[in-house]
Symmetry: C2
């Protein structure tokens, strides 16, 4: 947690923002801040800067309700969040044990528009995972933002049906963007330092199937490869985003 993201919905009174239990725990146990400490903060979907910490009145007990958390006041916001990546990421839904880490990475690297889509090689059971619950997802995204000192919440959409997305929604997304399909056949080398926005589609373990590849290509996507090495999803995501849009 490299900055503390304050939520306008958690306003106590004007200019006072209540901390969440997770934030309070971090401040108490890792930062070990005392009353009056100046901490790096950001306002959700807003500016970044500093704020002054006021601990919970009765001390912090991580087993108690959230009302026991402290708050931040006297905000001094003087900085914009880092620039978003100019891309839309469409990714086959990863297996649940990979999903949290992947969402964290994607958010920390600055993706703001993300679709998690079904594919023939995505097991149906993945869609039932508790990790997909809104609270769990929101938590991953918030942690990614706090890691990267960002404030802009990504927009994440679940797409349980492949075909209507690729046929009906993709063309509009591709407007003024280069479409890149991570797929090793009929592929060009993946661009480096791309100077235009893109839609990037990243397949499941085992890749897209033939029908899916055909649908992506029909929609105007270009297949790109990343060389001979096969990398795990959690490795390939930072590797790909970083080569496309090196910061």
């Amino acid at each position: 947690m490299n900055s503390i993201l304050l939520n306008p919905d958690h306003t106590l009174s004007a200019g006072q923002y209540r901390l969440t239990a997770r934030q309070q725990q971090h401040i108490s146990k890792v930062i070990k801040a005392e009353a009056g400490a100046v901490l790096r903060v950001g306002l959700l979907n807003g500016q970044m800067g500093e704020g002054i910490y006021e601990p919970p009145s009765e001390g912090f007990d991580q087993n108690k309700e959230i009302s026991d958390c402290g708050y931040i006041h006297s905000l001094n916001l003087f900085r914009s969040p880092p620039a978003p990546l100019p891309m839309v990421l469409v990714m086959a839904l990863p297996r649940p044990n990979m999903l949290k880490r992947t969402l964290h990475n994607i958010t920390a690297m600055g993706v703001k528009e993300l679709y998690l889509i079904h594919s023939a090689k995505v097991e149906k059971s993945y869609w039932q995972s508790p990790v997909l619950q809104p609270e769990s997802i929101e938590q991953c995204l918030l942690e990614g933002l706090e890691q990267a000192k960002d404030t802009l919440m990504p927009k994440l959409t679940f797409v349980p049906r492949f075909r209507p997305f690729v046929e009906d929604q993709l063309p509009a997304l591709l407007n003024n963007k280069m479409g890149l399909l991570a797929h090793p056949y009929k592929a060009i080398r993946c661009p480096v330092d791309l100077q235009q926005p893109c839609v990037l589609a990243l397949g499941p373990e085992g890749g897209w199937n033939e029908f899916e590849v055909e649908k992506w290509l029909e929609a105007g996507m270009q297949a790109v490869h990343l060389g001979e090495r096969i990398l795990k999803v959690e490795t390939v995501v930072p590797a790909l985003l970083s080569r496309l849009y090196p910061s």
Copy 2:
């Protein structure tokens, strides 16, 4: 495991290579191969191709000794492993729960010369972790190679003392290589698609301290930054390697 790495030390008779328990388990439980199946294999530090699978004579029991594993015979090796990255990676020893994943990533991405070094912000206890045992390390590296369909074992050196390394060993490593220090102050933007070999030094959580930075710079390293976002070690490694040497 995208290829099975056979160890010449595990030769049964000419052209027959015994599988390890881990490999046997993967073949029995994930690939579910039968006798005579053609599998993708590589010879440790050698060529890659295919081989024929012979299961253990009495069936596979993962609780039994390694002598119950099957073997691969009739190798047909027709392909070189992917090119190594032309770099030396010097990294502050990560915390033990990050180390395995980081070693796996680094190996899968093709680093062949790796130094894990002490730094003021590396906790002394990290050096006592069981993850640093040679068998545990070798396992991580082998898994990284099998993930990426590579065969060339990286050379990993532990450096428990910072100063003698930077003063005495680094100058020789820097010969004909660009020295890059991941550090945000007095830094230029990290190169993209670097057309020459490099030595890259990557700090601990919290960064190198002032003395360390000075020593790196004295040795001829150039500080480079990666933009405003702060990423976890496990994210920054693939992001950095991929922008320096996109495949």
